[in-house]
Amino acid sequence: MDAGCKFFRERYRISEGDLEGYLAEAHSAGGDYADLYFEYHATTSITLDESLVKGATQGVSMGCGVRVVSGERTGYAYTDDLAPEKIRQAARIAAHIARGPARVSTVGLAAAVIGHNLYPVVVAPTEVEAAQKMELVTRADRAARAHDPRIVQVRVAYADEVRYVMMAGSDGRVAGDFRPLARLSVFCLARQGHVTQRGTAGGGGRVELDFFRRQKTPEHFATESARQAIVQLEAAEAPAGEMAVVLGPGWPGILLHEAVGHGLEADFNRKKTSAFAGLIGQRVASHLCTVVDNGTIPGRRGSLNIDDEGSPTSDTVLIENGVLRGYLQDKLSSRLMRASLTGNGRREGYEHMPMPRMTNTYMLAGNDDPQDIIRSVDRGLYAVSFAGGQVDITNGKFVFSASEAYLIEGGHVTRPVRNATLIGNGPEVLKHVSMVGNDLRLDEGIGSCGKDGQTVPVGVGIPTIKIDRLTVGGTGQ
C-alpha cells in the first residue's frame, strides 16, 4: 500500500468499506462518476529580514473533497472534519448535482498500481528540527551581504510542506501519495547613490533538506540574487517596439507556460474558449520547436507520481516539430473529448475541484550554439530572467515580464536594461523561432501557477532560443 493510503487507513481509520459507503452516498442521486479526495497538509515557513529570523510558522490543514459528475455537470463539497458523518454530509451535498436513479454502489475497490516513485524522500523536510532550517536562512543572508557592500537589504524565505493524499473513485480505483516540497528564496536590494534595485532568486523541489546543503546551497541562491540586484544598478531604459528577442535557458521557459501551455489545457479546448481550439495537427510553431509537459522528472517541483485524480503522470508531447499534437487532460475533459488521460488533473487542495493543469513544461534542445544565436542578432533583447506572466487564453495574447535583460548590439550583449514586459500572440509567437540552442535547462524550482483562483507548483524550461519578432514594452527608443 502506498504511503498516502496507509496514512489515512492508520491515522484516521478509514477502511475500504468506509470509502465504498461514502461513494454510494455520493451516487445516491445518480451521476456518471464520483470521487473522494483526502488530504493532510503540514507546512513550515521561516522568514529572515534585516538579518533577524523575524517569524516562523507551522500549520496543519486537512479535509476531504467529494465530487459528483453527471454529464458536463460537477457538484463539489468538502469538509475539514474527517468524522464519518461529516464526509457523508459532504457527499450528499455534492450528490445534488445529479438527476436520476441512485447508482449501484461501488464494490471491490482496488489499489492502483503506480509505476514510479519520483521523490523517495527518507527524511521529510517537515521532520527536520527548526534549528537546521534557521541555519539555511542565516547562511543565505550572510552570503548575499558578503557578495557586495552595495547590498543593503536581504530577505530570505524558507518554506516546506508535506502532503498525504488519497483518492478513491467510483471506477473502483484507490491511489495515494506522499508529497514533500521545499523551497528557499532570497530577495536583495542594492543601493548606489540614489538608485535602488532589486534581485530575486530561489529554488527547491520535492527534496530532502540535504538538497540545500549538497546541491543548491543557500550561498548559490544568495549570490545569484545579489548579482542580479547589482547588475540592475547600471540598467538603462528598456527599448520599446518589435525586435528580435533571445531568451536565455531555464526560467525564460515561462514563455511556453503562458504562450502555449494554458491554451492547451483541455477544459478550454473542450469548451472552444481557447485560441488553440481545433488546431490539433496544424502548424503552431516553427519546425525547430518540440514542447512537452512532463510530470515524471524525479524530484522536480512540478512532478507528481499521480495527479490529484489518481491518474499516473506522464511525458506528454504538446507540440512536435512545430505541429500541435495534444492537450493536457483531466478525467472530465478526457471522457467528454474521448481522449486519453495525461495525468494533468490537479488542484490546490481539498477545498477545490481538479482541472487540467501543467506540471513541468519545456522545449526540447536544438542544435545551435547559444553564442551563435546571440551573434546572429544585430539589434535586439537578450532576456535571461523573468518575474511572471499572464495569458488571455481566448484571444491568445500573453505577457511575461523580464527581470534581467540586456541589449544585443551588433551581435554582442552590451548593456543591462530595466524591467520590461514582453507581449505576443500564443498561436503565432513560436512560428518566429528561428534558432534553438543545445543548452536545455529547467528552472531552479520556484514557480507557481494560478488558474481560477487555485495555485499549484510547476516547473518550466527552455534552451536558448531566438524569436525573430516580439514586442518589447520598454520606454526607450
Binding site: 507546512t43 515557513s45 522568514t47 534585516e50 533577524l52 529570523v53 523575524k54 517569524g55 516562523a56 510558522t57 507551522q58 500549520g59 496543519v60 490543514s61 486537512m62 479535509g63 458536463e72 455537470r73 460537477t74 457538484g75 463539489y76 463539497a77 469538509t79 451535498i93 534549528a131 537589504q153 530577505r155 536590494l189 543601493r191 535602488t196 534595485q197 520599446a240 518589435e242 469548451k271 474558449t273 485560441a275 477545498e351 475541484m353 518575474a387 511572471g388 506572466g389 499572464q390 488571455d392 481566448t394 495574447k397 500573453f398 505577457v399 511575461f400 515580464s401 530595466r418 524591467n419 520590461a420 514586459t421 507581449i423 505576443g424 500572440n425 514586442t471 514594452g473 520598454g474 520606454t475
Partner: protein
C-alpha cells in the same frame, strides 16, 4: 454563539500558561457557495463550510505562529505546543509585540458587514440569477456565441480575535457576487472574452442579472477586430477598473512593510509632492457596508480614516504596530493577517477622491491617445516604480473611440505617472474595497509594432 470566543480565550490562557509572555489568537469560520451556469446548464455547483485558527505567541522579543483547521482537543493542543516550541528558534526583535494596551478597541455601532438576505437566498434562486446573467449577455448580440458562464457566489462567516491583554472582538460578514463572461466571435478576427460583475454584502444591493449580463456583452463586443498600433508616446486614459489597479500598486508602495525596508519608491517621500495637485487618496476602514470595513484590525486596533495623499502630497503610510515601531510612527490600524507569519498590512476602503470631469469629457479632450480597459501581467517594480504591462483598450482620435487595440504594452514610472495625472473623473464607484474614477495620464509609452 460564544463558542469561538471561548475557544480563542482558552487558547490564549493555555499558551500563556505554557510559557508565552504574550499571545494573540484569530479564529475564522464560514460557509461558501458557488454556482456556474454555462450555455444554460449548470456546470459546477460547490458548497462547503470551513474554519481555521491562528495563534501567535511571544516570548519576550521573539515571535512565532501556528495555524490549524483541526479543532479537536488534540489539534488545538498541538497548535499551542508547536508555537511555544517554535518561538525559541526565532530572533530577538524589539519591534515585536502586541499593540500598546491603550491602542486596543473597536469602533461601535453596526457597520453593516453582515446581511441575512444573502443566506436566505435559496439555491434555486442563486442558480436562476447565474443563468439569467449569462443569458442576458448572450442575448445581447448574435456575435456572442460562446461563454465561460454566469456565476453566483455567496459566503458568510465570523471572525474572532483575542489577545493576552484582554482584547476580545468579533464580527460577522456576508458577501455575494454575480458575474458573466461571454465570448464574442466574428469571422476574420480572433474571438474575444470579457466579463462584468457586481459584488455586495447584501443581496438587496447586488445589481440585477440583466444589468450585469448587458455590460459584460458590451465589453466583449467592443474588443472585436482589435489591432496593434505603432510604438508611440501619447496621453493614456484608464477606465475605473484599470485605474483601480494603479491604486493597488500605490497601496503596495505605501505599505509600511515595504517602506521600512526601503523597498518602495515612496519610502523617503513623506511630505513631498508625489502626484498631481488634483489627486487625493484616502484609506478608510469605517465606511458602513464596505468591503474594506471592519470594527478593528487584525491586531485589535480600531480602524480609521487615513488621508494617504492630499492634493498630491504624500501624508501617511499604512502601518501595523510592527512597521509603526520600525518607522517610529503610530499604527494606522491596518494590520491584516494571512495564513502564516506575523501580522501583515492591508488596506481598508482605499480610494482616489473623485474630481469634477465626466469621463466622456476626459475622452473628448484627447486628440490622439489610448483608453485602457484591461491590463495583464505583473510588470510593476515597486522598488523603482518602473511600470510596464500588457494593455487592451480603445484608440482615441479627435476625442472619439476610433478602433479597439490589443497586444501592446504601456510603460512609464509610477512616480512620473502619478505626477502626470492630468484629469480625475467624477465617476468613483465601489466594486470591492479599492476604487478609483477614470484617470488621464499626460503621456506614456505605448509599445506595439
Amino acid at each position: 454563539m460564544d463558542d469561538l470566543k471561548d475557544l480563542a480565550t482558552q487558547v490564549i490562557e493555555r499558551a500563556t500558561r505554557a510559557g508565552a509572555s504574550g499571545a494573540e489568537c484569530l479564529v475564522r469560520e464560514g460557509r461558501e457557495f458557488s454556482v456556474t451556469v454555462r450555455l444554460g446548464e449548470i456546470e459546477t455547483l460547490k458548497e462547503a463550510a470551513s474554519k481555521g485558527l491562528w495563534l501567535r505567541v511571544l516570548a519576550g522579543q521573539r515571535a512565532a505562529s501556528c495555524y490549524t483547521s483541526d479543532f479537536s482537543p488534540d489539534g488545538i493542543g498541538r497548535v499551542i505546543d508547536q508555537a511555544v516550541a517554535l518561538v525559541q528558534f526565532t530572533s530577538q526583535d524589539p519591534a515585536h509585540g502586541l499593540p500598546e494596551p491603550e491602542l486596543l478597541g473597536q469602533i461601535p455601532g453596526d457597520l453593516l458587514l453582515y446581511c441575512d438576505d444573502v443566506e436566505a437566498f435559496s439555491v434555486d434562486e442563486r442558480i436562476d440569477w447565474a443563468r439569467r446573467a449569462e443569458r442576458a449577455a448572450l442575448d445581447a448580440d448574435p456575435r456572442l456565441q460562446n461563454s465561460e458562464g454566469g456565476t453566483f457566489d455567496a459566503a458568510s462567516g465570523r471572525l474572532v480575535l483575542a489577545n493576552s491583554l484582554g482584547f476580545v472582538g468579533e464580527y460577522p460578514q456576508s458577501y455575494c457576487s454575480l458575474s458573466a463572461v461571454p465570448i464574442a466571435i466574428a469571422s476574420g478576427c480572433a474571438m474575444q472574452r470579457d466579463y462584468w460583475y457586481s459584488i455586495s454584502r447584501s443581496l438587496a444591493c447586488l445589481e440585477k442579472p440583466e444589468q450585469v449580463g448587458r455590460v459584460a456583452a458590451q465589453r466583449a463586443l467592443r474588443r472585436l477586430n482589435a489591432r496593434k498600433v505603432e510604438t508611440c508616446r501619447v496621453p493614456v486614459a484608464f477606465d475605473p477598473m484599470t485605474a483601480r489597479s494603479l491604486l493597488d500598486n500605490l497601496f503596495e508602495a505605501v505599505n509600511g512593510d515595504a517602506v521600512y525596508r526601503g523597498a518602495s519608491f515612496l519610502a523617503n517621500r513623506l511630505g513631498e509632492q508625489v502626484a498631481a495637485p488634483g489627486v487625493t487618496v484616502i484609506d478608510d476602514g469605517t465606511i458602513p457596508g464596505g468591503f474594506g470595513t471592519s470594527p478593528f484590525d487584525d491586531e485589535g486596533v480600531p480602524t480609521r480614516r487615513t488621508p494617504v495623499i492630499e492634493q498630491g502630497v504624500l501624508r501617511s503610510f499604512l502601518l501595523n504596530c510592527y512597521a509603526g515601531r520600525k518607522l517610529k510612527m503610530p499604527t494606522t490600524g491596518n494590520a491584516a493577517r494571512g495564513l502564516a507569519g506575523n501580522p501583515g498590512i492591508g488596506h481598508g476602503n482605499f480610494y482616489l477622491a473623485p474630481g469634477s470631469a465626466p469621463p466622456e469629457r476626459i475622452i473628448g479632450s484627447i486628440r490622439r491617445g489610448f483608453y485602457v480597459t484591461e491590463l495583464i501581467g505583473s510588470g510593476v517594480n515597486l522598488v523603482t516604480g518602473d511600470y510596464s504591462r500588457g494593455a487592451v483598450g480603445q484608440w482615441i482620435e479627435g476625442g472619439e473611440f476610433a478602433y479597439p487595440v490589443e497586444e501592446v504594452t504601456i510603460a512609464g514610472n509610477l512616480l512620473d505617472m502619478m505626477r502626470g495625472i492630468a484629469e480625475v473623473g467624477n465617476d468613483l464607484e465601489f466594486r470591492g474595497a479599492v476604487a478609483c474614477p477614470t484617470l488621464l495620464i499626460a503621456e506614456m509609452t505605448v509599445a506595439g509594432r
